[in-house]
C-alpha cells in the first residue's frame, strides 16, 4: 500500500481551446489535511472533479488511495467522500432518509449504525428526522459531511466547505474536519478561498495559478520560509504575484 493518499502526474484538462489544468503533479501523504488554494478559475474545482471521478482528465494520471481514477474509478469511489461547494439533497426526505439512500448506494452493510456514527461525528445527532428543506446552509454542510463519511472513506474531498457560512459555522466545520482527520485518520483535501482557515485547519497547502501548481509545502514550512510576510494571505499574494499568468 502506497503512503500517498493522492498522487497525480502531469494531470491536464482542456475545455475546447481553454487549458483549465496544466501538467499537475501533486502528492498528498496519508493523514494530511491538504488545502488547495487559488484564485477563481485557477482550476481548483476541475482538480477536485477529476480526483472524485466526476470529470475525465484530458491527459496524465491520478491515483487515490492507490487506485487509478480512470481504470479503477469504482474503487476510487469506494475510497472517497465528497462534499460539493453547494451540497444538494432530496429536500422531500428527512436527513436520515437521505443518508440511508446514500449509504445503500455506497454498499454500507449496516446503514442505521453508520448513520448514527456519522451524525455523531459531525455533532448533528437529533436532526435525523428533520426534513432537509428546513435546513440552513450550515446545517446542510454538516449533513453533507455526514453523507461523505458514511462509508468511512480514506480520503475526504471538500470543495469550498466554509463558503457562505457564518463565523460560528466556519468554526464548527473546522472543528469537525480536524476531528475527522485526527480521530478517524481520514486524509482531507479541501479547496478554499479563506486563507485564515487554511492556517487553522490544514497541515499542507498547494497553490494553483491559471491551471498550474506553483507551490506546495507544509503550512509550518511555508510560514517559516516567508518570515517577512505577516500572514498566509500575504504569502499567497506574494507567491501569486511572482508567477506570470
Amino acid at each position: 500500500m502506497t503512503d500517498m493518499a493522492i498522487e497525480t502526474s502531469a494531470l491536464a484538462k482542456t475545455y475546447g481551446s481553454k487549458q483549465a489544468l496544466e501538467a499537475l503533479s501533486l502528492e498528498v501523504p496519508r493523514g494530511e489535511i491538504f488545502g488547495l488554494l487559488g484564485h477563481n478559475g485557477a482550476g481548483k474545482t476541475t482538480t477536485v472533479n477529476i480526483l472524485t471521478t466526476l470529470l475525465p482528465a484530458s491527459s496524465g494520471t491520478a491515483r487515490i488511495a492507490g487506485h487509478d481514477v480512470t481504470t479503477g474509478a469504482d474503487r476510487v469511489r469506494r475510497s472517497i467522500g465528497y462534499l460539493p461547494e453547494n451540497v444538494h439533497f432530496y429536500d422531500n426526505l428527512t436527513l436520515t432518509e437521505n443518508l440511508t439512500f446514500f449509504a445503500r448506494l455506497s454498499g454500507v452493510p449496516d446503514p442505521a449504525a453508520r448513520i448514527a456514527a456519522a451524525l455523531e461525528a459531525v455533532d448533528f445527532t437529533g436532526h435525523g428526522q428533520e426534513k432537509m428543506s428546513t435546513f440552513s446552509k450550515g446545517m446542510r454542510q454538516r449533513a453533507g459531511i455526514a453523507q461523505a463519511i458514511l462509508h468511512e472513506p480514506a480520503v475526504l474531498f471538500l470543495d469550498e466547505p466554509t463558503s457562505g457560512l457564518d463565523p460560528q459555522g466556519v468554526a464548527k466545520l473546522r472543528e469537525i474536519i480536524i476531528s475527522l482527520n485526527q480521530s478517524l485518520g481520514m486524509t482531507v483535501f479541501m479547496n478554499t478561498h479563506l486563507l485564515a482557515e487554511v492556517t487553522k485547519t490544514c497541515t499542507s497547502i498547494g497553490i494553483l495559478s491559471s491551471g498550474r501548481l506553483i507551490y506546495q509545502n507544509s503550512v509550518a514550512a511555508t510560514l517559516g520560509a516567508f518570515p517577512d510576510q505577516a500572514s498566509l494571505e500575504d504569502i499567497y499574494l506574494h507567491i501569486e504575484a511572482g508567477t506570470p499568468s
Binding site: 466526476l54 460539493p84 446514500f102 445503500r104 455506497s106 454498499g107
Partner: protein, 322 residues
C-alpha cells in the same frame, strides 16, 4: 444490483408521494372512467330498449324472433382507450422528463455519481421505476374499467373478455412506459432538461397526433361524416371491391400510419377489444395472427426507448453542465 433496487425504490417512493403525479394519474383515471360510464349508460339504454321491445312484442302476441342488437361490452372502451393513447402518453412524457429533470435541477447528480454505481445503474433504476409505476397504474386503471363495465354497464364479460382486457393492459403498459423512457432519454441527452422536454413534446405531437391524423385524412371513408361508403349505401363486400382498385394508395396510407408507434399500439389494442369490426368476436388466435406484427413493432419501440435511456443516462453524459 443493490444500487439498482435502491435507486428504483427511491423513485417509486418519490413518484407515489409526488402531488403532481398523483393529480395527473387521478385526472387520467377520472377521464377514462367517465368515458366508460357514458358508454355504459348508452349500453344499458340499448339493452333496456331491446328488452322492452321484446316484452311489447310478446304482449302483442307477435312472434318473438327479433335478433338481439349487436352490443359488445368491450367496445365501450373505445373513448377510454383513446384517452390513454393521447392524454396518457402526454402524462408519460411529463413523468419521464421529471425523472431526470429533478436530479439535474436539484444538483443531486454530483453526490450520486461519486458513489460506486455501475455505469448503467442510475438509468436502469429510473427505467425500472417507470416500468413498475406504469404497470401499477395501468393495472389499477384496467381494474377500475372492468369494475365499471360490470357494475355500471351491467356487461356480461366472459373469460375470453378478461384475457382480452389483460392483453390490452399489457399493450398499454408498454406504450406508456415507452413514452416515459423516450422523454427520460431526451432529458438526459440535452444539456438543459427543459430542452429535452420540448423535444419530447415535439416527438409526441408528431407521433401521437400528426402522423395518425395524416393517415385518417387520407382514408377515403373519412371524407364524409358517417363514412363515405355508408352514405353511398355501399356494403362491406363492395367497399373492399372498390378499394381493391386503390391498393397502391392504401399501402402508402398504411405505411404512413405505421410509422407512428401510436398506431402500432392502437391497432392491436382495438383488435383485442373488438373495437375494430374485423376482429370483433374473433378467436384470440385470429386476432394474434392479424396483429402480432404491430405488437412486435411496439415492443421494438419500447426496446429502442429503453436502450436510448440506458445509453443517455450515464455519468459522463449527465454531468455535462447545463
Amino acid at each position: 444490483m443493490t444500487s439498482l433496487i435502491t435507486l428504483c425504490g427511491k423513485e417509486l417512493r418519490d413518484l407515489s408521494c409526488n402531488r403532481s403525479v398523483r393529480l395527473l394519474i387521478a385526472f387520467l383515471a377520472v377521464v377514462v372512467v367517465l368515458s366508460v360510464l357514458v358508454a355504459a349508460a348508452d349500453f344499458r339504454t340499448k339493452t333496456a330498449d331491446y328488452t322492452s321491445y321484446l316484452a311489447a312484442l310478446k304482449a302483442s302476441g307477435g312472434a318473438v324472433n327479433a335478433p338481439p342488437p349487436d352490443l359488445f361490452p368491450l367496445q365501450m372502451l373505445r373513448a377510454g382507450m383513446e384517452y390513454l393513447e393521447i392524454v396518457g402518453s402526454l402524462f408519460a412524457v411529463i413523468l419521464g422528463y421529471g425523472l431526470i429533470a429533478k436530479e439535474k435541477n436539484n444538483g443531486t447528480l454530483e453526490l450520486l455519481f461519486t458513489r460506486p454505481l455501475g455505469r448503467h445503474s442510475f438509468a436502469a433504476g429510473k427505467i425500472l421505476a417507470a416500468l413498475v409505476i406504469w404497470t401499477a397504474v395501468t393495472a389499477a386503471l384496467f381494474a377500475v374499467i372492468t369494475a365499471t363495465l360490470l357494475i355500471a354497464g351491467n356487461a356480461p364479460l366472459t373469460g375470453t373478455d378478461f384475457i382480452r382486457l389483460i392483453i390490452a393492459a399489457a399493450h398499454t403498459t408498454i406504450y406508456l412506459t415507452l413514452w416515459s423512457l423516450a422523454a427520460l432519454a431526451l432529458a438526459a441527452l440535452t444539456r438543459s432538461p427543459a430542452t429535452g422536454l420540448v423535444l419530447a413534446l415535439v416527438l409526441w405531437l408528431v407521433v401521437v397526433l400528426v402522423i395518425p391524423q395524416i393517415g385518417d385524412t387520407m382514408d377515403p371513408d373519412n371524407q364524409i361524416p358517417g363514412g363515405l361508403f355508408a352514405s353511398l349505401q355501399i356494403d362491406k363486400a363492395h367497399e373492399h371491391a372498390v378499394m381493391a382498385n386503390f391498393t397502391g394508395y392504401e399501402t402508402s396510407r398504411d405505411l404512413i400510419e405505421q410509422t407512428s408507434l401510436t398506431k402500432q399500439y392502437e391497432r392491436p389494442l382495438f383488435a383485442w377489444l373488438g373495437i375494430k369490426d374485423q376482429y370483433n368476436q374473433q378467436s384470440p388466435a385470429f386476432v394474434w395472427a392479424g396483429t402480432f406484427n404491430h405488437t412486435l413493432w411496439l415492443l421494438a419501440g419500447f426496446a429502442a426507448a429503453a436502450a436510448a435511456a440506458l445509453l443517455a443516462g450515464t455519468r459522463d453524459k449527465l454531468l455535462r453542465k447545463a
